[in-house]
Amino acid sequence: MRLYVLSVYLFLYIPIGIIALFSFNAGRHAAQFTGFSTQWYGKALNNPFVLEALKTSFAVALASALLATICGTLAAIALQGIRGWMRMVYDALIYMAVMVPGIVIGIATLITLVTVFGTLNPLLAAIFGGETPPQLGLGKGSLIAAHGLFTMALVVVIVRARLQGMDRTLLEAAADLGAPPMRSFVQITLPQIAPAVLAGFLLAFTFSFDDFIVAFFVAGSETTLPIYIFSSIRRGVTPEINAIGAMVMAASLVLLIAAQMILRPRKR
């Protein structure tokens, strides 16, 4: 049994380990390890294309995570008030958003956005007129929207769990002591769910930052870091790609561990 578990983990993590290992390769070919060196990290961090993609990824992840956190937290609170079959429907829809494959979300978002843009752009042209009327198109905006949409489900699930674990009598106590509903929300509910909100934000950020599939469909002319890596690989895997991959992985791991630490129940 233990051997079985071990082999599963090895199967999962050996490829990742190899990427990290080969990012320290001195040679220029990914296939053979010729010596230890950190030169590829320097190369990657001095590559203007990498930096540009990193900036895009960061901006998109930050904006979409903020959006997802605000909307997701509000949605989670609203869902608390719903009972019965309606709640089951909403729960099912939210879990579905987490489980639906990225490629489906990517294609669906692309089709929706293109359709909406196709309808709105002639309208905008008619309203504003002129030589270059404002036009909607794929880009950072559509990336933020698409990422915000599917990471929002994560935030809802995390914040909901925290809300359900929260002692409801705290709100009763606040009301009993004279706090109107809005004030008890700010003074009692928000501090209680703050760790979940923060963890949800970190997770949303990580998911957006690491996402390739959805971004691939809706990025338009924008290049995020995963898209850059993908297009570079087509020209052959270099240790530079390995270095970028290792850095992205390290950053994601730090964020995920941070989220886990925040969500860990405080000991009493």
Partner: protein
């Protein structure tokens, strides 16, 4: 004893869908009294309390606080405060901020110095002076309970509501807290309304006890009233313990009722009012009203000891005979040495004075 009411329930019914949690409650709570709702879980006592607090709204009837109908008034606008069963202290605030929370909600907001002073005074009252900077989780269960108490009384509520506040404390601490609560109530002069399933707690602290059964009020009265003059078998059974002997009324003898037990044994019992001959009744006989004497004592009923339980301050005997059935008697320690060391299987005489038993017509 004509004190003005601080709160009233008028024909109050609470339904949750098909379930009726409280039915036709009529109750006047007097200014400055200590009233307890006593009953088993699910009897509607907590529902009654929550309707006073405003967490539940009456389906029918009127709830009045300080002469004003408060149906539909939300909890934050009611002049009452509650001590919750699990205390419900805010874990992200220290003790002082917890206690000051109610004052902080007042508009216009009192000056910080005034709040601090009031908080200090309230903490002193619950003997927690100097604990203001502590975090909630640094406090023991008993201390947390005092914080919850201070947080409520600092607001000088018209009524202090207590929802099983001592359920989470161990027995010794609970006893100390009961005494403390009672003296605090005297000191403050605030009306206390307590919900509990612990009869000892209700009897020891309350001016009046309201016994609830299946959503209805079974009886309201002083602890002595309820113990000595229960109006139903339910109350007699719930307040203290009692032996119950099914009987039938033979006739009246002055203010006493004469009755016959299942095997024709004659009893003379107290009764709240005249009863017609032939009425089915239950005789309630408190275990401490049963005396044990050597076999052959005058007016004694021969019975056999089936169990002997030594309980420290008293010894409990379980007796049995064909004529009476099963009977529990308690003999206080040091009362009668001969009645103390009886053995299981011994034949003895059980005695009680005339009028010891009480005739009850209701379940």
């Amino acid at each position: 004893m004509d004190v003005q009411p601080i709160a009233e329930l008028r024909a109050v019914t609470k339904r949750y869908g098909l379930v009726t949690a409280a039915r036709g409650l009529n109750l006047t709570i007097r200014q400055g009294e200590f009233l307890s709702f006593l009953g088993p879980s699910g009897c509607g006592k907590t529902t009654a309390l929550r309707m006073l607090a405003g967490f539940e709204q009456a389906t029918e009837g009127e709830v009045l606080i300080d002469g004003r109908v408060v149906n539909g008034v939300p909890p934050h606008l009611r002049p009452v405060n509650m001590v919750f069963q699990q205390y419900a202290l805010f874990p992200h605030m220290n003790v002082a901020r917890n206690v000051g929370y109610g004052l902080d909600q007042r508009r216009p907001r009192p000056p910080a110095a005034e709040i601090a002073q009031e908080v200090g005074r309230a903490l002193q009252m619950v003997r927690l002076a100097g604990f203001g900077d502590r975090r909630i989780w640094e406090m023991s269960g008993g201390q947390q309970q005092r914080v919850a108490l201070a947080r409520a009384i600092v607001n000088r509520p018209k009524i202090l509501l207590l929802d099983e506040p001592m359920a989470a404390l161990d027995k010794k601490l609970r006893h100390d807290m009961q005494i403390e609560l009672k003296s605090l109530q005297r000191e403050l002069g605030i009306t206390f309304v307590l919900v509990t399933h612990d009869q000892e707690e209700a009897l020891s602290m309350s001016d009046r006890v309201c016994i609830m059964n299946q959503g209805q009020i079974a009886q309201i009265g002083t602890p002595e009233d309820l113990y000595d003059r229960p109006q139903s078998r339910y109350v007699a059974d719930f307040v203290g313990r009692s032996n119950f002997i099914p009987s039938r009324v033979v006739g009246m003898a002055g203010d006493r009722v004469r009755a016959r037990g299942p095997q024709g044994l004659a009893f003379t019992a107290r009764t709240p009012g005249p009863l017609a001959a032939g009425t089915e009744i239950v005789l309630s006989l408190r275990p401490e009203d049963v005396r044990i004497a050597p076999l052959g004592a005058p007016d004694g009923h021969p019975m056999r000891i089936t169990h002997r339980i030594f309980l420290g301050e008293h010894t409990e005997y379980h007796l049995s005979s064909v004529a009476i059935g099963h009977l529990v008697a308690v003999v206080p320690r040091g009362a009668d040495a001969a009645a103390h060391d009886l053995e299981v299987g011994a034949e003895v005489a059980a005695l009680w004075r005339d009028g010891g038993p009480l005739a009850l017509t209701k379940d």
